[in-house]
């Protein structure tokens, strides 16, 4: 083993004890075992490398940095083996009941974010931190939001998006202010994916952006969070948007309505579904509004669904019929249908009869 590697191993032992991880380090491999392991990772025989990979887990945190060096080296086969070994090690450390070990591994994975490691190794480390990391590694990861390499910046964002806890969320919110272009959009999306109410204020501010893309993504992120209605949210006028943008706004409203309905805020949901239905020029958005409204408030939506049986679009009519068939039959809905039948066109009449038959069969079923 090279002199530098032995020095690294000694430093790791000192470091582990120094930061109170001595107990974890004591369970890990001995120096001799670690050296043997690293030697096998660098073997020119594939079978030997695989044997080492399968034993990477118990090597513990002490193996992370040396593996990172091999993963960044010029020996391609050894680099691939080291990368694979790191994945196995991270997985092993995350087993139930090994929280301290996982914390230790994450601590050393954060060292691999340094520029001395290859881009592939740095990005791999961020990927592994996304399922081993916690608040403690967030400062090192979030620093890479400002890396000169766009791929590295995005991997940092991905990692923060996945690392649980408040520190990663705060780092994303803080990063929003400094980001531009695609990175800004990606962070907005990440906050929506986290569905974090803490991000609401920052996102609401962006709904007024002159950049339509930013504004629309911010609205979608807020929709995923499902915030209560706020007066300071800027909704663009439908007429100011092109068709694709109108579709995106409608999708966000539908998503928001679904979230509000799931929280029991039925009035909010129905208002949003109604807005989509009124402004949507596509049958699929009307179908979505009907589907959502029926799920949120079946009795209140029934009248509208019945009227949709007469819509000009085949898909809307069939969707309406399916929705009605899934509802429990009662006299009120049956009356609506019979009333609708009187003025209905033949295509709609057929659907009304189909629904009534389904309800009849349900009631007759044992």
């Amino acid at each position: 083993m090279r002199k530098n590697s032995r020095r690294w191993v000694r430093l790791l032992w000192v470091g582990a004890a120094g930061i109170g991880l001595g107990a974890v380090a004591a369970q890990a491999a001995t120096e001799a075992e670690l050296n043997d392991f690293l030697g096998k990772i660098k073997s020119d025989q594939g079978s030997v490398r695989v044997e080492a990979i399968l034993k990477a887990g118990p090597m513990g945190a002490a193996a992370v940095v040396p593996l990172g060096k091999v993963a960044s080296g010029d020996n391609r086969a050894a680099a691939i083996a080291a990368q694979t070994a790191l994945k196995h090690l991270a997985a092993y450390a995350g087993r139930p009941g090994a929280a301290a070990e996982m914390k230790s591994v994450a601590h050393y994975l954060a060292f691999l974010l340094d520029k001395e490691y290859s881009k592939v190794t740095r990005c791999l480390a961020m990927e592994l931190l996304s399922w081993t990391g916690d608040d403690a590694v967030v400062p090192q990861v979030s620093a890479l939001l400002a890396d000169p390499d766009a791929d590295v910046r995005d991997e940092a964002r991905r990692s923060l998006q996945a690392i649980p806890g408040q520190a990663s969320l705060k780092a994303l919110i803080d990063g929003l202010g400094k980001a531009e272009g695609r990175q800004k959009l990606a962070i907005i999306i990440a906050l929506g994916q986290r569905a974090a109410p803490e991000a609401a204020d920052a996102l609401v501010a962006l709904t007024g952006s002159s950049d339509t893309e930013v504004a629309l993504e911010a609205l979608d992120a807020l929709a995923r969070i499902g915030i209560p209605k706020r007066d300071d949210v800027t909704l663009p006028s439908w007429d100011s948007l092109n068709e694709a943008q109108r579709g995106r706004l409608a999708n966000s409203l539908l998503r928001w309505a679904d979230r509000r309905a799931a929280k029991g805020e039925v009035d909010d949901a129905l208002e949003a579904y109604a807005a989509v239905a009124r402004n949507a020029q596509s049958e699929h958005l009307l179908c979505a509004a009907l589907i959502g409204a029926t799920k949120a408030a079946p009795d209140q939506a029934a009248e509208h669904v019945v009227r949709a049986l007469g819509h000009e679009a085949n898909t809307v009519r069939l969707t309406a019929a399916k929705l009605l068939e899934q509802l429990p039959p009662d006299d009120a809905k049956a009356s609506l249908l019979l009333e609708a039948y009187k003025g209905a066109k033949p295509a709609s009449r057929d659907l009304i009869l189909r629904v009534l038959k389904t309800w009849n069969d349900k009631q007759l079923a044992p």
């Binding site: 087993r95 909704l235 699929h284 509208h304 819509h311 033949p346």
Partner: protein, 438 residues
């Protein structure tokens, strides 16, 4: 926010029903009267194709040779060579796009056929549903459990028809086998043993700059960054865990799709999953050449094995496409179904069997594309709808997760969460690269 609207104005745009309808007798089924933008019974469906490489070119040629089913009007691909070739196949009659988002904006496209690498399936499908298109998406449906759930939710939210390309269920042999098994001809099935040949082991080509004809950033899409390597793109995406997941996710989505179909288990999932395997001894590919996965299902209790290479049962010797398949073990007998994709076959005893009058009736698909296009018109669920596709992909994904984590996993299928394993739960989802998300 906009001013509050009365609930009665919900459908104000459609309150005054449009135009003249043809006056016809009531016995003509609904859906025959075509409405703007959606196909009636006699309208040809317009398709847009996203991804026209290997399987994509198969679908393109299928549609072209079945003009009574559908007509391709648009194609999108990130590889200029694929796009050019596809344009030539369509003899200039389809619009060509480098960016699939432009294709999705075409109002004349009724359905999209997605044959991109697996890591794009979820984003393409969700965005297509959001654009109002019905979707035929190649298998496996998705790469993560969260992606599959997003696809199901999108199809449900917009009432879209989504068919996943596990066409084994639409093969006659699957119907014969379904009749045979579901009518109890082998008794209660307690074991399903799948066999499949090993994953390939690749060479160690060096990374390089992507070719000028390929938009590599677009090819990666939601997949986390990796340097370009010729051995990792196009069809070879299959052999990397993050993109293709190996045979268990590629062909497993065929073999185990038929298994779940025959076992009537689309609504369930395994309770325990255990996997063994080792990485390849050389090369860039990560998927273990040999692999064993045990899936334990509860209520009813049965076990499914995924074995690479496994052992081809003697009954499969005379069947077509027998390099992979599954054997079903019941109390009173067994049945072999070879293949699981377009080349599915089964034993003669199943082909000769006729279900009794009051027996279990298994849906017989008219053909996988045909089933999809029929369901577009009737709005009924196709045989390999997205819920089934998500269930099958989940089984494949869970097997790979058990391998990657190197431990037995306990799965709550109803909640779609692992029990007692926080790290495994973190792997149910993964953030998309750049702006691509579900």
């Amino acid at each position: 926010m906009e001013s509050r609207l009365s609930r009665r104005s919900f459908l104000s745009r459609s309150a005054g029903l449009a135009g003249a309808c043809i006056s016809v007798p009531c016995f003509i089924p609904s859906g025959v009267l075509a409405a703007p933008g959606r196909p009636g019974a006699n309208d040809v469906i317009n398709t847009g194709h996203i991804g026209v490489g290997g399987m994509g070119s198969y679908h393109l040629n299928y549609i072209k040779s079945h003009p009574q089913l559908a007509r391709c009007v648009a194609i999108a691909d990130v590889d200029k060579n694929h796009l050019k070739k596809a344009g030539e196949v369509m003899e200039g009659k389809a619009k060509l796009f480098a960016d699939f988002r432009e294709l999705l904006q075409m109002s004349e496209v009724d359905a999209v056929i997605i044959a991109t690498p697996d890591h794009w399936h979820a984003v393409h499908t969700v965005m297509a549903c959001e654009a109002g298109k019905d979707v035929y998406c190649e298998k496996p449906a998705c790469c993560t459990i969260a992606e599959g759930r997003a696809m199901v939710n999108a199809a449900r939210r917009y009432g879209r028809i989504v068919q996943i390309g596990s066409q084994g269920r639409s093969q006659p042999a699957a119907w014969y086998a379904g009749n045979y098994l579901r009518n109890g001809r082998v008794g209660k099935v307690s074991k399903v043993a799948c066999w499949h040949y090993e994953n390939p082991v690749g060479a160690t080509k060096l990374d390089s700059e992507p070719p000028a004809d390929l938009d590599y950033d677009a090819w990666l899409g939601p997949l986390r960054w990796r340097p370009y390597n010729r051995d990792c793109v196009h069809g070879n995406f299959r052999w990397l865990l993050e993109s293709g997941g190996g045979q268990i996710r590629d062909r497993g989505a065929h073999v185990m799709s038929v298994a779940l179909f025959l076992m009537n288990a689309d609504h369930t999932g395994p309770r325990f999953i255990e996997a063994t395997g080792a990485p390849p001894e050389q090369g860039l590919y990560e998927c273990p050449p040999k692999m064993e996965v045990v899936y334990t299902f509860k209520d009813p209790d049965w076990v499914m094995y995924w074995s690479q290479p496994g052992e081809q049962p003697p009954e499969a010797a005379d069947l077509g496409n027998n390099r992979y398949g599954a054997k079903y073990y019941g109390d009173n007998g067994t049945l072999v179904v070879s293949g699981g994709d377009g080349g599915t076959d089964t034993e003669k005893k199943a082909k000769d069997y006729h279900a009794p009058l009051n027996g279990v009736s298994v849906y017989r698909s008219p053909g996988h594309h045909e089933d999809f296009f029929n369901c577009m018109r009737t709005r009924q669920q196709p045989i390999m709808n997205i819920q089934a596709g998500h269930a099958v992909a989940s089984v494949c994904i869970l097997g790979n997760l058990a391998y990657r984590l190197g431990r037995k996993l306990e799965w709550d299928a109803a909640k779609e969460k692992f029990i007692g394993d926080d790290q495994a739960n973190l792997l149910l989802n993964r953030p998309g690269r750049s702006i691509w998300h579900i």
